[in-house]
Amino acid sequence: MVDQDVGPNAGPPRAHAAILLLSVLVVATCGLIYELLAGTLASYLLGDSVTQFSTVIGCYLFAMGGGSFLSRYVRRDELGAFIRVEIMIAALGGWSAAGLFMAFPLAADFRVLLYALVLAIGALVGLEIPLLIRILQHRFGFRELVSNVLTYDYVGALIASLAFPLLLVPHLGMIRTGMVFGLANVAVAIALLLVLRGTRAVAADLVAAGLVGASLIVGLTMAERIQRWSEIAYYGEGVIHSRTTPYQRIVLTRRGADLRLYLNGNLQFSSRDEYRYHEALVWPVLGRVAHPARVLVLGGGDGLAAREILRDDRVRHVQLVDLDPEMTRMFRDTPQLAALNHHSLSSPRMTVTNADAFRWVRAASGPYDAVIVDFPDPTEYSLGKLYTESFYREVARLLAPDGVMVVQSTSPLVAPRSFWTVATTLEAAGLTTRGYHAYVPSFGEWGYTLAGHGQPALIEAAHLPAGLRFLNAVSEPLMFDFPPDMARRVTPVNRLDNQALVRSFAEEWAKYDG
């Protein structure tokens, strides 16, 4: 092509032009990456990906338009303005993913923060191309200029949109991806400053770019820790232990003396009031069994129910069945956790088996004088199997003729239909039942169901040991009284092929959570 359109030679020399065109490619890639990051993060944290993506992209494009409009107010030194814009984008865009992750649990309204950030980055990115066109206008003819700039802009967009899902998110993760592209923006600024250093004062801008770049490099090396901090913020307490096993994410937090266990984000106990939950779980059973020599615990891998059971000298053997080996190992070997359960998992009277209880009960043989069924709430169809008639028939087979069992049965206040479904289902499996409830501050009003083979012990008073913190001969019988808002109602039997409990549980808790 004949170079006839070349304008007056007032602009930057050719090397500058090449760097500037290359920077179009880089800034276009970075710009789209930040947009994709914001959209992905928003759908990751807020759900409903169609809404999040479309509102984030819309705001971003609108803000770019705003930035382009604002570029008219840059009246001189476009190059200097462009370099500062790069540094600002590097700081905001580079830290965007990390910042949003950390802010999510803290911010009162995460959306305000999200869209403010999207608008700010969008406006800055919108400034880039008009400024670059103006910087380059003296170097190329208008025809070539528009062609060059838009070509690199769109090629950059393609690179970003392919690299983001295929390479960046799977291999770098979102926090590191932001940091890496922030560094690319910094690199553009620094490269231009170095090229220009003979023609103008660059020291202040170089220092700013250097600081942003350094912060991004530090951020890059600490991405893992940032992820952890954001989890700390989510839990509102110090995370002292966290582990992802094949079955769940176990997180242990501590604030002051309060130790809390979360499984997949759901609170399992708080050390402040777990004695209420576990005394109420264990003693109404043990207090009604004449000779509780053999006790079966299904679930309860934290060893806290076992701690209560082992206080009873009549108990000669406890068989505990928990799915997750990591869970029982943690509560056996971590000193502060073992202290909490009084080393119940390493007691010579204890046998721990890591197995799926749904399968284990079918192959096991009894009899057990007491059975404690302490599973997570039936939030999933898979867990719902542990609350079915078929499962209770197997447990009933393992229960001695004069044995008593108890089932953790969710909140009778929040989910009364679900609570009484457990009783109906146990009765369908041929057992007699008696529901009760206790107040556990960190859970709320909580429910349990006693069951047995129709022996009178179920309705008799319990023989409780001395020294319990929550239960005594006066408070224990009160647990069996249900005021009208929690009173028994007619419910279906929870079967493997209808999973009535999982359905009612989801309904009742969704209504309660609003």
Binding site: P246, Y247, S382, V502
Partner: protein, 543 residues
């Protein structure tokens, strides 16, 4: 060994090598194996062109009163019927190393899994033989006051049974529940009402219009006429044109018959919806019986009972009549020898395309066509989930051409996460089955794994990094196709007419045209009872 290598095989192998050399896609991205019916053993019969390619029988002639050729569900059911009658004097010859046919399964350290058919709908009241067998296996534990069978809940498919990925969200059931127009909803309701009508319909001969097993269906011409047209043509004529409805019906036809709606007889298409009147106590009639290993559970329970009679790795190469006897030449694939058996009766429980080569005197030339399928077992380190309802037994995407996946641990596991095996199904139903079959065999393990992984990851992106192994089973002739006119096909009519005669009895779902467990089971029982009578043993029918 030289006899095993035909020129055709050498050429095919050369072509495969050539492809492998120039295709970069052949490196398998996951551990796994390419499995399937032993094509070499099967094609040896086809390529033999008569029996001249096989050496003459060696050793002494063996005398066995009754021989069952073929250990698929029909052959096993025939054997079960003989055992049930107290008759043990028979041999069951099975080409493969393991009996079971389409109802075979495999396993790994985590779970058993199916290689083919994975469920059995709760049988209808008329499926007496099948109900009898399920009672014997302890799957039916009693009867309620009305006499309806009580099924052991462990064998009934656990909730959640099915979910559909529809517009980005998993929803319960396989029919879209949201985003449909009023016309779509009205058509769906009208379709359901039409099927309800057919389900309740009784022909002039007093039989249900659509029975399961299909042999017990009415012969009333009013219903028989439905066989003359394709399901697609019938739907068009009835004004069932709604896109979501037709997409769902296409899924159903491919799932049960491996065939597109325009290749399925309207009678078969309607049978899918109107033939099921499951008879069970406690409202379980709509349910399915399923096991981690699928129908291999049933096949293995039968095979265990027939252990002394089953001869694996034995194929029948020739069946001819000699006076009142039948002479059967059988090839022992491990020893490479041909032995001769003289029997009083034989049950041919082998597919038609094999039977016509080995027993041309008894099997007319039928033009049956067969649908190829690909089934993969995908070992995953964690279970899939996704937006919407949680993981179900059967998981299907409205946006995928494949038939989705079934979770092998669904019946046995209560862990909400952890390792599992996903059984992925696809019927290669578009276009000419022979072309699809060739393409299926030509693709390398790596190519299949890429297709399967891409399909799974599109449905469940969170499985990224969780796929540990993909084993792929290629079924060249997975299912006979119930094409328009299949009920009246002269080959089937002749075969059924010859059933009572002997000494050769036929039993295979090919004869019914519906490749379903209930069909094969019924035909196996019918052949076994016919053979017992032929041998002079009185038998009270279970049919």
């Amino acid at each position: 060994m030289t006899a095993e290598v035909s020129r055709r095989a050498v050429l095919a192998g050369g072509a495969a090598l050539g492809l492998a050399a120039c295709s970069p896609a052949t490196a398998a991205p996951y551990p796994g194996a390419l499995l399937g019916a032993d094509v070499r053993r099967g094609h040896r019969l086809r390529d033999a062109k008569g029996q001249s390619a096989f050496p003459p029988p060696s050793g002494a002639e063996e005398r066995i009163p009754l021989v069952i050729a073929g250990g698929g569900v029909a052959g096993l059911a025939a054997g079960w019927r003989l055992a049930e009658a107290g008759f043990g004097d028979f041999a069951l010859l099975e080409l493969e190393n393991e009996a079971g046919g389409n109802a075979r399964g495999g396993g790994n350290a985590v779970t058993q899994f199916p290689w083919g058919a994975h469920y059995l709908p709760v049988p209808n009241r008329e499926a007496r033989g099948l109900i009898h067998m399920l009672r014997g296996f302890g799957m039916i534990t009693g009867e309620d006051a009305s006499g309806a069978p009580i099924y052991d809940p462990y064998h009934l498919c656990a909730d959640l049974e099915e979910r559909l990925l529809w517009r980005g969200t998993w929803q319960e059931g396989l029919y879209p529940a949201s985003g449909l127009g009023a016309a779509d909803i009205a058509q769906h309701d009208r379709f359901n009402a039409a099927m309800e009508h057919f389900r309740a319909a009784v022909g002039t001969d007093g039989r249900p219009a659509f029975a399961s097993p299909s042999a017990l269906s009415s012969r009333d011409p009013a219903f028989a006429a439905l066989d003359g047209q394709s399901f697609a043509a019938w739907l068009d004529a009835q004004g069932f044109t709604s896109g979501p409805l037709r997409a769902h019906l296409r899924y159903c036809c491919r799932d049960d018959y491996g065939t597109e709606p325009d290749g399925v007889s309207a009678w078969a298409g309607i049978h899918y919806f109107a033939g099921r009147r499951g008879w069970a106590a406690g409202g379980a009639g709509q349910s399915e019986l399923t096991w981690p290993e699928g129908n291999a559970r049933l096949a293995r329970l039968i095979a265990a009972r027939l252990h002394p009679q089953i001869r694996p790795s034995h194929s029948v190469v020739r069946v001819v009549r000699d006076g009142d006897d039948v002479v059967i030449d059988t090839l022992d694939h491990l020893a490479g020898t041909i032995r001769r058996i003289r029997a009083g009766a034989v049950i041919l429980a082998i597919p038609d395309f094999v039977a016509r080569h080995v027993a041309p005197d008894f099997v007319g030339h039928a033009g049956f066509s067969y649908a190829p399928w690909v089934v993969a077992n995908v070992a995953v380190s964690r279970q899939p989930w996704g937006a919407g309802v949680p993981l179900a037994w059967d998981n299907v995407s409205a946006g995928s051409e494949t038939l989705g996946y079934v979770v092998a641990t669904h019946q046995t596991q209560s862990a909400p996460d952890g390792p599992s095996v996903l059984t992925w199904y696809n019927a290669l139903s578009v276009g000419d089955p022979a072309v699809q079959r060739r393409m299926m065999l030509r693709r390398s393990l790596g190519e299949w794994q890429k297709i399967i992984a891409a399909d799974l990851l599109t449905m469940n992106p969170e499985l990224d990094g969780a796929i540990e192994r993909i084993d792929v089973w290629r079924w060249g002739h997975a299912m006979v196709q119930p094409v328009p006119g299949f009920r009246a096909d002269p080959a089937r009519v002749v075969a059924r007419a010859g059933q009572g005669a002997g000494p050769v009895f036929r039993a295979h779902s090919d004869l019914s045209g519906l490749s379903l467990f209930e069909e094969a089971h019924y035909l196996g029982l019918a052949a076994a009872e016919g053979a017992l009578r032929h041998l002079g043993r009185p038998v009270e029918s279970l049919l």
